[in-house]
């Protein structure tokens, strides 16, 4: 799907802005919204650019800078915290050699933290793009990252 098709899919109503931003962002190989994108949305929905920028910057799932192919989002809610999400986060930082909010040089991974993923039953947990990974251990993290690196 191309960006233009997104505008065809949704009616040009201001209320559809979140859905449109989601889809446009997903289309970008670097998973982010460009200035161009925001301008286009503002024209299409007949909204001021400042308003669109305001919305895009308010919600944490939208990014205004390029991200990697895999967006890793580590759950930082108390049930995960209690069973060691911090260790998981530190291990990821170590393996990927990046800090929270950064992207690896090969543009493969971006590391983010997220509020509760609602999978507390299998804490500690994280999401990579739309897939949830639970009962994480340092060992498991290594395997998952290796798998992704091998392009599985």
């Amino acid at each position: 799907m191309k960006k233009e098709e997104v505008f065809e899919k949704f009616e040009s109503k201001p209320e559809n802005i979140l859905l449109i931003l989601h889809e446009i962002q997903d289309l970008n190989p670097n998973k982010y919204l460009t200035e161009e994108d925001l301008k286009r949305v503002s024209e299409k929905l007949n909204l001021p650019y400042s308003f669109v920028y305001g919305v895009a910057s308010f919600y944490t799932m939208f990014s205004l800078k390029p991200r990697g192919k895999y967006i890793i989002r580590v759950c930082e809610s108390p049930p995960c915290h209690l069973v060691g999400s911090l260790n998981i986060l530190n291990e990821l930082k170590k393996i990927l050699k990046i800090d929270i909010g950064q992207t690896t040089k090969d543009n493969l991974f971006t590391l983010e933290i997220t509020s509760c993923l609602g999978v507390c039953g299998v804490a500690p947990a994280m999401m990579i793009n739309e897939d949830v990974y639970g009962n994480l251990t340092v060992e498991k993290i290594k395997e998952i990252i290796d798998e992704k690196r091998r392009g599985k």
Partner: protein, 1015 residues
């Protein structure tokens, strides 16, 4: 054609995160390969609740539960169970466990979750789906529906707790040409996932309820606002909406009536605050999700300024049951204030985590200990956090509190979004407070200054406290800030954000103070306050991580010296210590905790073998110190006084030194020779020991010229039961018995029927000693169950192996006999609720009395100190212990200090050692000196083995033990210990938690010098 088996596999997010979908696909292939496809009905369902043990599968009609499935298990499962009809025991969740988890639950709203295929509308229709909608549209007026909902007593399940029927009534009465129904599925509270489970497992019940609501309030459009973090819920909702439209159950002229209703899906984009209803409306309209001033309430002005009904997912899931069964039937369930059932998300430190549905009125204790099956790894329950960042804590005193909106609120928590996070002893309350403040701070939308700035100030203070820079005034400041934020924030996020801090301070203020004053985090979480969790957990702060490093290189002497800095009884503690250090060991999270006690045994035995000695002070200080009692507290105090330059005198009333270590611990656990070597070493370091000399008054010592006194007389008097016949011959205290057999070799137990009452270490020792002395049989009578026994696990296991019989949940009510005891009348006990300490409370079962024969009864119900002789001179507590200032161990007389069991009541060797050492320091300070050991400096230990090699799973080493037949005949030491090679390997498993911590450089050679060359 009906299928032979129904195989339901959980496809909730928790289970699919552990590959349940891949497993299902593999099963499909396997079935096809074996031609079983027509016989077996394979369904992917929503959440079954038991998330911890996923992926879950249930095979009907026999309801066999399988857990923790892996793709590799599939072919065995298909071959053995689906084809040959035999249950695969290896993968089965045993029926008692299944019963425990489900027995106290009552599934109404989640009855379909885990049973039907949520992606197939026909399965929903088959279980009565959309019947409630049909009934409403064809038989009921909107008023009738509202009546039923009001009658049901249903309260909104989103958190605010507003009566649903009234909300529907107000929105119906609100004037407007257009109205909207909104389902709030922006479930963002940390620890909450009930709404996700419903949407993933039974999406149609929400759609059906929204349509009913639409009919009642007069709306034609509904929105489901679901968070983008729930992709599976979004997928299943999308499918459900399409199917409902296709079947004519959504859209125009539903059920042939003139009622039109359709639903649009709205997706969030990661904003916690958007779950607040006014913020949610802004977000639906395409704006930033920020809260607005209320009133007007959404019922008057909601989406696009029109009257809007906003209900939570779980609230809506209740509707069809109310319609089909009537409001009154529904209202009959639960308590007076809270009707129906409630979903909870049980997470944290509990064995069975997952989604549960319970009737209101069940107690917190039943949820944690029955459904949740208690705390894993034998840890202690600390508190339960309810209601997420808006909620609070419920502590062990309140385990009998029923789940009820009002009762929970009274305790300062809320039912809220139904998160229940169980905390154990290793969770720090200051850290939790910081964590929640950090969470709400990140999620604050920033409109209101108190929330935006106030929370930052709170976080800064909490940060300071966890790093050891806190001040006591900080606690007042925290409360002041909390109150301001609560009063002046616009929305509920800010208004409730300080709750975790406030209830934390309410129930756990001592922990905050401990962080500030003692710079100690007892839970071992606030990393800036300690070197390693093992060191932090040891009452005497023995530097475990450092001696393990030395042991890893086989350096016994160095390891031994490190131990002696904080505890002069390594041989004793290697054998009898409950090993507080092993509980929080980080290695335990990886595979198993280090066998610290066993490693210690090797270097302590080395010191005994080479007869390592410490030189007495060359130029002793002038002040004279007397110590009353030569137990672990008294002798530790003596040893550390010599290291501070004194030559103290120890007075002992008995013929041998050692106190409880000598008279209370039998040889098969602690050989007397080993103990004697350790005691001699302390005496040789510059201590004068006076035996057979009971001190009757402290003034007597003052008159003899002592400048300070340390009272460490222990707790040697057994507590009585207070039942009939207790004074009969043949009944004695357990401690008195152990003392008797140590001193009187002629004490006769042979052929006797011995009954021990109690469940602690003394009870185990008394029972096992009696057995070794030739008793005919030995029974232990304990009023609680095995899990509650205060004795160490290994003691109980060994006692059982040796043939000791246990009567659990049994309590003596009378001792019967002429002059001598002959029989004991006992009564069976059962558990009812919980006591204030969080343990299950045993109560007698009426009419269950029975008798057992006994010639010798040993009462081991605990001991108290014999200090009445000092009561004219020292202040004594109500429980018979000596009153001291816990900071300085000073008694009511300024030159007299006290410690050990005489202060603590019956405790462990290491706790007494810690007090003895502390007393030495305080006595030194009392004389005007520094009170500091010049050896207590930390060094960096460089190890010389390949640490990487030990970073793979390696199991903990267990020592060999003497064969049962051999050990019950003699007092030979049961535990044979590890070999040196094994101990070194074991020490190398240490993960070195202290690495990178700021430490002082000090050479081990200098340590030896300072430990020896005093002043």
């Amino acid at each position: 054609m009906p299928k032979r088996l129904d195989v339901i596999i959980c496809g909730g997010t928790n289970c699919s995160s552990s590959h349940s979908i891949e497993i299902k696909e593999k099963i499909e292939k396997e079935l096809e390969k074996r031609g079983l496809k027509g016989e077996i009905n394979l369904v992917v369902s929503g959440c079954m609740g038991l998330c911890q043990l996923g992926p879950n599968m249930v095979v009907y009609p026999d309801e066999i539960h399988y857990i923790r499935l892996k793709e590799d298990d599939v072919s065995e499962l298909v071959e053995t169970h689906f084809l040959k009809g035999r249950v695969v025991k290896r993968l089965q969740w045993t029926p008692p466990n299944v019963e425990k988890f489900y027995k106290k639950q009552h599934k109404i709203i989640t009855a379909n979750c885990g049973k039907i295929d949520p992606e197939n509308i026909e399965e929903y229709i088959a279980v009565g789906g959309y019947e409630a909608l049909a009934k409403v549209l064809t038989e009921m007026t909107p008023e009738m529906v509202i009546d039923e909902v009001i009658k049901s007593g249903l309260i909104g399940r989103g958190g605010a707790g507003f009566p649903t029927g009234l909300k529907w009534k107000f929105t119906r009465e609100s004037k407007g040409d257009e109205k909207y129904v909104v389902c709030n599925a922006d479930e963002g509270d940390p620890g909450a996932f009930k709404d996700r489970a419903i949407l993933e497992g039974d999406p149609h019940c929400v759609i059906e309820a929204m349509e009913i609501a639409g009919y009642v309030i007069g709306a034609q459009t509904g929105y489901i606002y679901v968070r983008a973090e729930y992709p599976l819920a979004i997928k299943r909702l999308t499918i459900a909406l399409e199917q409902a439209r296709k079947y004519g159950l959504l859209g125009k002229n539903i059920f042939g009536t003139d009622f039109n209703f359709d639903i649009e899906l709205r997706m969030g984009a990661g904003a916690f605050v958007a779950g607040e209803e006014t913020a949610l409306i802004s977000s639906i309209e395409g704006e930033r999700g920020m809260p607005k001033q209320k009133p007007p309430y959404p019922a008057q002005k909601g989406v696009w300024g029109k009257p809007t009904l906003i209900n939570n997912v779980e609230t809506l899931a209740n509707i069809r049951h109310i319609i089909l069964n009537g409001g009154a039937t529904y209202g009959a369930m639960g308590t007076e204030n809270s009707k129906g059932t409630k979903l909870f998300c049980l997470t944290g430190k509990v064995k069975n985590t997952g989604l549960i549905e319970i009737p209101f009125g069940l107690t917190i204790g039943e949820i944690v200990f029955d459904i949740g099956d208690g705390i894993p790894n034998d840890k202690k329950f600390k508190a339960i956090q309810m209601g997420g960042p808006s909620g609070g804590y419920i502590t062990c005193e309140y385990l009998n509190t029923p789940i009820d909106y009002k009762e929970i609120e009274k305790l300062g928590a809320i039912i809220g979004s139904a998160g229940m996070i169980v905390l154990d002893e290793n969770n720090c309350m200051v850290d939790m407070a910081k964590f929640f403040v950090d969470f709400t701070l990140t999620e604050s939308c920033g409109q209101c200054t108190p929330c935006r700035v106030g929370l930052i100030r709170m976080k800064e203070i909490l940060n300071r406290i966890t790093k050891g820079y806190g001040k006591l005034e900080d606690l007042d400041e925290l409360e002041r800030l909390a109150k301001t934020i609560k009063l002046t924030s616009l929305c509920a996020l800010g208004g409730t954000a300080p709750n975790p801090v406030l209830t934390g301070l309410k129930y756990f203020k001592d922990e905050f103070i401990e962080h500030i004053v003692d710079k100690k985090c007892r839970a071992g979480v606030c990393a800036s306050l300690f070197y390693a969790p093992c060191v932090n957990a040891c009452p005497s702060e023995v530097d475990v991580s450092r001696y393990l490093a030395y042991m890893g290189d086989g350096k016994l002497k160095e390891a031994y010296l490190v131990h002696m800095e904080n505890n002069p009884f390594p041989s004793v503690c290697a054998r009898v210590c409950p090993a507080f250090c092993e509980g929080p060991c980080e290695r335990g999270k990886f595979d198993e905790p280090i066998a610290i006690r066993e490693v210690k045994r090797l270097f302590s035995d080395w010191a005994n073998e080479v007869n390592y000695q410490f030189s007495p002070p060359e130029n002793p200080k002038n002040e004279k110190v007397a110590i009353i009692g030569s137990g672990p507290a008294g002798l530790s105090c003596a040893f550390y006084l010599t290291r501070l330059g004194y030559k103290p005198t120890v007075f002992e009333s008995l013929p041998f030194p050692g106190g409880m270590m000598m008279y209370g611990i039998p040889d098969y656990r602690l050989p007397k020779d080993t103990l004697k070597k350790e005691i001699d070493r302390i005496i040789n370091s510059g201590v004068e020991l006076v035996l057979n000399n009971e001190i009757k008054s402290i003034n007597e010592l003052r008159n003899k010229g002592f400048d300070a006194v340390f009272v460490a007389v222990g707790a040697h008097e057994s507590i009585k039961m207070g039942v009939l016949g207790e004074d009969l011959e043949g009944i004695m205290g357990g401690v008195e018995f152990l003392k008797e057999i140590t001193t009187n070799k002629n004490f006769d137990v042979k052929g006797k029927r011995v009954v021990v009452v109690g469940g602690g270490s003394t009870a185990m020792d008394a029972a096992r000693v009696a057995l070794r002395l030739g008793a005919k049989d030995v029974k232990v009578v304990y009023r609680r169950s095995k899990d509650e026994m205060p004795a160490q696990k290994i003691e109980v296991t060994e006692a059982e192996e040796e043939g000791i019989e246990f009567l659990f949940l049994t309590n003596p009510t009378e001792f019967i006999g002429e002059k001598k005891v002959e029989k004991i009348k006992c009564i069976r006990m059962e558990f009812k609720g919980f006591d204030k300490g969080g343990r299950r409370r045993p109560v007698p079962v009426e009419g269950s009395e029975f008798e057992i024969d006994a010639d010798l009864v040993l009462l081991c119900l605990g001991q108290k100190p014999k200090v009445s002789k000092f009561s004219d001179e020292l202040e004594i507590n109500k429980d018979g212990t000596i009153k001291v200032d816990p900071k300085t161990l000073k008694t009511s007389l300024d030159y007299v200090f006290a410690g050990g069991d005489a202060v603590l009541g019956p405790s462990t060797v290491i706790e007494s050692v810690a007090q003895g050492r502390k007393a030495a320091v305080e006595i030194d300070k009392y004389f005007g000196y520094e009170g500091e050991f010049n050896f207590s400096l930390r060094e960096v230990v460089d190890t010389h083995y390949d640490e990487e090699k030990y970073l793979k799973p390696i199991s903990r080493k267990t020592p060999k033990v003497v064969e049962i037949e051999e050990r019950i005949k003699s007092f030979i030491e049961v535990n044979k210990g590890l070999t040196l090679e094994e101990a070194i390997e074991e020490a190398r498993r240490c993960l070195k938690c202290d690495k990178g911590k700021e430490v002082y450089k000090k050479n081990i050679k200098e340590l030896e010098k300072t430990l020896n060359k005093v002043i």
